[in-house]
Symmetry: C2
Subunit: 421 residues, 2 copies
């Protein structure tokens, strides 16, 4: 299970301050556990069973299996809440499978799109267009181009068999699927995009790539059980949310999520969206930034240690190596100044780097650690649920609606006008 630690030699919080804030937040925890009535249409993720239960998973796995038998390239068209969670898991776990998931509809760059089209040459292509509200430009334009591509390559009828859409029942996308004969999966009506990690939206592409989605759901359900029933004093989501809130009030206006595994970079993007969109309103919220260590110790490290003091840091710590996480540093045959590394494993050296970094950073800024046993589907499920629940609490502490994103309308309206919509 996940564990949360604080390491802060600056003593940013005075004695008893955290315990008092935790006690004050108990009613809020209870309300969130029960599910605020005003957010009823956004809390479908709260019970993992609702959208990732056994029956739903069985359907998803069956569909995924049929796609895996036919496709070697599965293009997921989607942006933000429609692709970040699946991409995070595939980047972290790199499942071996016959079907590779590729990404489209997340940019308006023709250059990127042309690269994608090159990668599709000679492969058996299937696509899934994911869009809760089918109004977003990136997936809309990408789906147009890829529909044409499939029709041209396979003919109208066969193209239709290779197209799947995930959207809101009754939407324009649903109507399009009916007219054209595309398969259609319902987007959970009671979850906003960034909270849909544990639903078919993301479980399908994960399963297509070969991820064990049962394990992912099992991890999330275990975390749900813990966060929704544990005594408040032991609740790590409440503790994390309250710590963030207190640090924010102390003037730490940015949170850096850091990890020593580059394959967590996709997860970082999911986390950034979750907190930036849920909290960044009414002039509030912490700027979510990320540290891809050890590489970015050689770029951002200087600023973290000695720059403007506006960061606190949360480390994602993976405690045990996986099958591919080991490699011994040999080469003791010549003097190169690195004799002290001889015979050590990269895993061990990487952990020494982590421990030293946390020790150094905690001298000058508050450092949290969220530790997991292994980087696998079970723990990815735990992370998704943990952060979703903590973010809900965190936005409630700030007094903002966790589930809307009114600020993105400002550029969208200007853009739609400019494009003559």
């Amino acid at each position: 299970m996940l564990q949360l630690f604080v390491k802060d030699e600056t003593n940013a919080l005075s004695a008893g301050q955290l315990e008092k804030a935790l006690a004050d937040a108990v009613p809020l925890l209870d309300a969130c556990r029960a599910g605020h009535a005003q957010y009823a249409d956004s809390l479908g993720w709260l019970r993992v069973e609702e959208w990732a239960g056994e029956q739903k998973r069985a359907e998803i796995k069956a569909l995924a299996q049929s796609i895996r038998r036919k496709a070697d390239a599965f293009v997921l068209i989607g942006v933000g809440g429609s692709n970040n969670a699946a991409r995070a898991v595939l980047r972290a776990l790199d499942p071996a499978g016959p079907t590779q998931v590729l990404w489209a509809g997340n940019t308006l760059s023709a250059w990127e799109f042309n690269r994608l089209l090159e990668q599709l040459e000679g492969r058996q292509v299937y696509i899934d267009c994911v869009a809760k509200n089918f109004e977003t430009l990136e997936p809309g334009s990408a789906f147009r181009v890829l529909r044409q591509y499939l029709k041209k390559r396979y003919g109208e009828e066969e193209a239709a068999r290779r197209i799947l859409c995930t959207g809101t029942p009754g939407s324009q996308l649903d109507a399009l699927c009916s007219r054209e004969g595309y398969a259609f999966l319902p987007f959970p009506p009671n979850i906003g995009g960034r909270f849909t990690a544990l639903s078919g939206v993301h479980l399908l592409p994960m399963a297509v790539a070969g991820v064990d989605i049962d394990e992912l759901a099992r991890g999330a359900a275990a975390m749900e059980q813990q966060l929704r029933t544990q005594p408040a004093g032991e609740n790590i989501a409440l503790r994390y949310a309250v710590l963030r809130w207190l640090y924010g009030r102390k003037g730490y206006k940015a949170e850096m999520l850091s990890a020593f595994e580059p394959r967590l970079a996709g997860f970082f993007q999911w986390w950034q969206q979750l907190f930036a969109e849920s909290e960044g309103k009414q002039g509030k919220g912490l700027l979510p930034v990320t540290g891809e260590y050890s590489e970015q110790l050689h770029s951002l490290g200087q600023f973290v240690q000695e720059g403007t003091p506006l960061l606190f840091e949360t480390f994602l710590d993976v405690k045990e190596p996986g099958a591919k996480d080991s490699l011994v540093i040999g080469g003791t045959d010549v003097a190169d100044g690195f004799g002290y590394l001889g015979g050590k494993d990269f895993w061990q050296v990487n952990r020494a780097s982590f421990e030293a970094t946390r020790a150094a950073h905690s001298q000058v800024l508050p450092c949290l650690t969220l530790a997991m046993d292994r980087l696998d589907a079970f723990h990815m499920g735990q992370l998704f649920y943990f952060f979703a629940f903590a973010c809900y609490l965190s936005a409630e502490l700030l007094g903002v609606n966790p589930f809307d994103q009114p600020g993105v309308e400002a550029y969208k309206q200007r853009m739609f006008r400019a494009l003559g919509r």
Copy 2:
């Protein structure tokens, strides 16, 4: 040439404030142009001619050509200032060539390293270990493993012919090369890592990959000419540095560098290191963050528009499309709600998204635009020189040493102790 614009409907600066600060900074500009004596050992980048002149480029191109004839995989071992600039250019320009450059020594993740080793199978491998001070763990350990790999695969003699090192003459790396018979290139002694974009450190891997380094140097030299001779009032590096400084004093403690081309993501990393390490000291500096648009409009956009007001934004704008930047959005055959896009080019839609985003963001935060005509080697050279010179000015305005990075010692010393060095 590059152009710099301000768009700020918030009027963060009062009338005349910028002009006064620019006038006050003229002596500083003059001093930087002449080269501060106390930084004499760090200003080798100031004259492009010194490390990227015609003679040096001819030698680099000849060496690159000989590598291109033999290698199809060229592994650059390096981190931070030893790989960011080259990686930025290769990601942005994606040159076609027989030789692919791969990256190592920028992480301690065994998982990443094992992936690299898989990619080397069946290919003709050459390596370049780049390390100004050969004490950094990531390149040191990676070089050990790759040396062993080459020896095992090709035998001792042939392995030695495939190894090149770039380091400081007289260093332990130099001695290793002499003993083992590896080729050795000098790292410019009068430039710190993050300022070495226009030197053999980066020009060699760029040339190996097929980048026109003459064009890159030509762009940088043109920018040098402009920044070192233009009247202060027209000097865009001074203007950029002074604007950053004024915004920082106004409470904008983070600068977001944004662009609508995903292939500038590598450049973002170079820029982050440049400013984080040069400015982030003595409790000063702007936190450098990045916006990979349009994708991150769907993650960070909400925070930028309505979150805690600590950001100002600098857009990198590419004005004209390149050969692969065009793709028409057809698909007018069915009603999908995107009829207004029919017949438009992605380039055009992407620019509409940029214009709308800047218009929306400039309502609530100061927005700068650094515009370039095209995304090519010439303009990449311009960008490197522009930001290096502006960063030098910027650190001088803050009153910090632009060329040191004392803060990274804190974790390094702890790590070396833990590893028994």
